[in-house]
């Protein structure tokens, strides 16, 4: 014991850690997007780059519906955190104007190509055009289009409108707003939601709104509450247990010193190493409370007289084994697993150092309440180890054969049932249509690629890279076309003069195409259209930073063109697979390293005891988990934690046994406190956290049963 100097060092470290933690910007330090680091962020191809940009954009939009959308949009723009708001999904006036004014540049080359099969003539084109016009006028769908046809007898816009039928619509009267920053990377979610709710409080009732930010805010709130609640309940239960069994509240406070100290310093260390810490790492890190309290318990219950050196040595050995195990996680390529590694291994070392330096733990020695019952043997019989090994190996083999893995990232998520219901009301009839994105360097090329897939798409009427430049033959036909069309209209009895808006605009287009070329014209007008498709509509067609994209809803076309789904769902479904593989590898290395260390440090009789109780407990825990459900990476993480804890208990027991000391009942008390701490996780709303809790509980209970088996055999002289 270092005494006063030790306390001074502890105080100094605690002070530094407290300053570090209080200076942190927690809103940016806490990474609240649960899928972050579990979804591939590789953006090698233009499509991936476009999707990466659009996913970021998607998170920034909110959608609303109100009896007065214009007023809501105006209210929302008053928030400094909202950059833009609009009363409808599309800026209809702007888009309509762009499409109408540039209808020739955007659609005519495709029309011409479609009507130029064989050897086209101006007369032939005019005859087709007027025949189609007549057929259209006689069809039910001409309703409402008649006025437009004076300027568009070629039906460029009605044909385009018809192709839009393939687009799912978001619903009636939906407005949108765009928030300045991504809701995942700051405390913005909470502020934005508060802003919006307060701005909408002035609006008429019946205003509904949804958006990723709302989900992010709820996740953040639920997780924050959960972390707070789990830690508080865990600490309260541990304290209650300690007060009941350790008799003195003061002893409980002393036990908590290494716990608080380790959590504080581990977090401060993490903040020095990582820019941000994933919320999951923090939740996993909170289990330090259950693990680190053990150090104080062992010291307080057994660190006196002849046991002193033995207990300290056992603690150091156990801590080194566990910390080494977690330190291995630092080599993982997944940042979250790295963070867990740093957080827990640092916490364990700090907790041990604190427990050894903090003198009251040794000075307040004493027995547990009901001390005579704590070390009683659980079994009266102790069959051969071979039976146990055979039983567990058969169980593990059957479990492995039938194991079903779940790699869905959404086990990390909150359910959000209410919010999902609210959100569903914004997609009328079309249940979450899957948007596919095709990215590239130029819109014209993308449109050609989509057209080549020969699938129905809303883009099929557009000018594309292939038809934008008119051939010489087409150019000469084009020069004659207006005259031929006038003649044909007159011949069929139409008043040609009524179509003067068309002929005036067509003349302008013909001149422009002769001067600039079709490609240049189409490129410029598509860029204008992309600009007009503001807000969420921009997902359909857009350009930014040298990357262009087109969005559509045809999965067959997506497969043919190599487009990718905008939705993260497919990636979420298998997002944890690489992490699982990595954890299995890490687990295998961890078991090998730890058992090798144990083999080196202990005699054969001792290490077989340690391996028997810890490994069989873990294998049986895995078997039970695999039998009764799907196994996920958090079960595996739980097994890793269970391995460290099991080894701690086994090492502590075996060292005491080999030194001829009585059974250290602090093991049972420690296990009880750990079980209490992990049982709290079973009440989490996050499946991943529950998986972790149940696995650790099973590991601890089963390890103790095998440890008891071993102890019984030893006491009967069978070992």
């Amino acid at each position: 014991m270092i005494g006063t100097r030790g306390h001074f060092i502890l105080l100094l470290l605690a002070f530094a850690a407290a300053i570090r933690l209080s200076s942190l910007d927690w809103s940016s330090f806490l990474q609240l997007d649960v899928s972050e680091h579990f979804i591939s962020n590789r953006a090698a191809s233009p499509t991936q780059l476009a999707i990466s940009h659009l996913r970021d954009e998607q998170a920034r939009y909110i959608f609303f519906r109100s009896p007065n959308n214009a007023s809501v949009a105006e209210q929302l723009t008053r928030s400094p955190r909202i950059t833009q708001a609009s009363a409808s999904v599309f800026d209809r006036e702007r888009v309509s104007k762009t499409l109408y004014e540039h209808r020739f540049e955007l659609f005519f080359p495709h029309w011409l190509e479609e009507h130029s099969e064989g050897s086209p003539s101006a007369e032939g084109l005019a005859r087709s055009a007027v025949s189609e016009l007549e057929a259209f006028l006689d069809s039910p769908q001409s309703l409402g289009f008649e006025d437009l046809l004076f300027a568009d007898p070629l039906l460029l816009l009605p044909r385009f409108m018809d192709s839009l039928q393939s687009l799912p619509t978001m619903g009636l009267d939906v407005g949108w707003a765009r928030i300045e920053d991504s809701p995942f990377h700051s405390s913005l979610a909470q502020q934005v939601v508060r802003d919006i709710e307060s701005l909408l409080a002035h609006e008429t009732s019946g205003t509904q709104w949804t958006g990723v930010v709302k989900f992010a805010e709820e996740s953040s709130r639920v997780i924050r509450n959960e972390v707070g609640l789990l830690n508080t309940v865990s600490l309260l239960l541990l304290s209650l247990l300690a007060v009941l069994l350790l008799r003195s509240p003061l002893r409980v406070l002393h036990l908590l010193v290494p716990v608080v100290f380790s959590i504080t310093l581990a977090l401060a260390s993490c903040s020095l190493i990582f820019d941000s810490v994933h919320i999951l790492a923090l939740i996993l890190g909170s289990i330090l409370a259950g693990v680190t309290i053990d150090f104080g318990i062992h010291l307080m219950l057994h660190c006196s007289g002849e046991r002193k050196r033995v207990v300290m040595g056992a603690l150091v050995l156990a801590c080194v084994t566990s910390a080494t195990g977690f330190a291995v996680l630092i080599f993982s390529s997944n940042p979250v697993i790295r963070q867990v590694g740093v957080l827990v291994s640092t916490g364990l070392v700090v907790a041990l150092a604190c427990a050894l330096l903090y003198r009251p733990l040794v000075e307040h020695q004493g027995n547990l309440r009901f001390a005579d019952k704590w070390d009683r043997s659980l079994f009266r019989i102790a069959p051969s180890r071979a039976w146990a090994v055979a039983l567990v190996l058969i169980s593990a083999a059957t479990a492995l054969v039938g194991v079903s893995w779940s790699d869905d990232v959404r086990i990390l998520d909150i359910k959000h049932s209410q919010l999902k219901q609210e959100s569903a009301q914004f997609t009328s009839g079309d249940s979450s249509p899957n948007v596919f994105i095709l990215g590239g360097k130029e819109l014209l090329a993308l449109l050609a690629q989509l057209e080549a897939s020969d699938k129905s798409s809303w883009t099929k009427q557009f000018t594309n890279e292939r038809n934008a430049n008119l051939t010489k033959e087409q150019q000469s036909v084009l020069d004659e076309f207006p005259k031929a069309l006038r003649r044909e209209l007159n011949n069929r009895g139409y008043k040609e003069a009524l179509f003067s808006p068309f002929f005036a605009d067509f003349e302008g287009y013909s001149k422009a195409i002769a001067e600039q070329g079709g490609m240049v014209l189409a490129r410029a007008k598509l860029a204008e259209l992309a600009k007009a498709l503001d807000g969420p509509a921009g997902f359909l067609l857009g350009e930014r930073g040298g990357i262009a994209w087109v969005g559509f809803f045809d999965s067959v076309a997506a497969e043919e063109t190599g487009a990718l789904a905008l939705s993260v769902e497919p990636e979420l479904r298998n997002g944890l697979e690489p992490v699982r593989r990595q954890l299995l590898e890490i687990g295998a290395i961890l078991v090998t390293v730890m058992l090798s260390v144990v083999c080196i440090l202990f005699r054969r009789r001792s290490w077989t005891s340690i391996a028997f109780s810890s490994m069989l407990g873990l294998l049986m825990a895995f078997s039970l988990v695999a039998w009764f459900g799907e196994v996920n990476v958090f079960h595996l993480t739980g097994l890793l934690l269970g391995l460290c804890l099991s080894l701690d208990y086994s090492i502590f027991y075996v060292i005491c046994r080999d030194r001829g000391l009585p059974y250290p009942y602090s093991i049972r008390f420690s296990a009880l406190t750990t079980l209490v701490a992990f049982s709290v996780l079973l009440f989490s709303s996050i499946e991943a956290v529950r998986s972790l809790g149940i696995t650790v509980i099973l590991s601890i209970v089963l390890t103790h049963l095998f440890l008891e088996w071993e102890r019984n055999r030893h006491e009967r002289g069978l070992a």
């Binding site: 599309f90 104007k97 109408y100 039910p140 769908q141 039928q165 009636l172």
Partner: protein, 206 residues
């Protein structure tokens, strides 16, 4: 002219705000007529639609079967072209073809017109009076209800809607949109049922 065109392209539908109002002071005949229409429930009738527009040399004539249900709205099953079914209900305008249903994109004033048409079909005087001056005419069993927009700008191109009928049967619907711009729907061979069976609702309505 071009300003009107700019209104043409719509990507989403809008719903007219037709706020409830006090029942206008119509004679008992009109209230009884409405009650009778409601009592008769759903109706199927043959229709002949005549569309007039300056662009057309001759009026376009279309025909088919009309179905009306006070709850599910109006359905026009055309025999021409792609045998499309146009569904007009509170949600908007839907076109059903062999390729499946799709929402039809029309200019704003057409959307409003459809909502007016629905209100007219159920003789919802209170709603209609909010946007129209109601001119009722009755002559024996025949009647005619003419709706003149109270505010010209408010309903765009709709200059008038006229419903004619005999007793509790609507026989003609005329939409007036200016000189040589009109749509007239003549109905005949009415078949009344309390409600449409589920398969008819699924086939002809949203």
């Amino acid at each position: 002219m071009s300003k009107r065109f700019l209104l043409f392209l719509c990507f989403t539908l809008s719903v007219t705000e037709l706020n409830g109002a006090e029942e206008p002071g119509l004679s008992a005949f009109w209230h009884e007529l409405r009650n009778h229409l409601l009592e008769r429930g759903a109706v199927t009738a043959d229709f002949r639609e005549t569309r007039q527009h300056p662009i057309r040399q001759h009026p376009a004539r279309l025909n088919g079967e009309l179905r009306y249900d006070p709850t599910h709205g109006l359905s026009l099953a055309y025999k021409q072209g792609s045998s499309a079914i146009m569904v007009i209900d509170e949600v908007g305008l839907l076109r059903k073809t062999s390729h499946g249903p799709s929402r039809l994109q029309l200019p704003d004033d057409w959307e409003r017109l459809h909502q007016v048409l629905l209100a007219a079909m159920r003789l919802d005087y209170a709603t209609l009076e909010d946007s129209f001056l109601i001119v009722p005419e009755e002559e024996g069993p025949a009647w005619r209800l003419h709706l003149e927009p109270a505010d010209g700008d408010k309903l765009g191109r709709i200059l008038g809607v006229t419903l004619s009928g005999t007793q509790a049967t609507v026989t003609t619907i005329i939409l007036d949109m200016g000189p040589r711009r009109s749509i007239q729907i003549d109905l005949s061979n009415h078949r009344f049922v309390p409600t449409f069976p589920a398969d008819i609702l699924a086939q002809y309505f949203r």
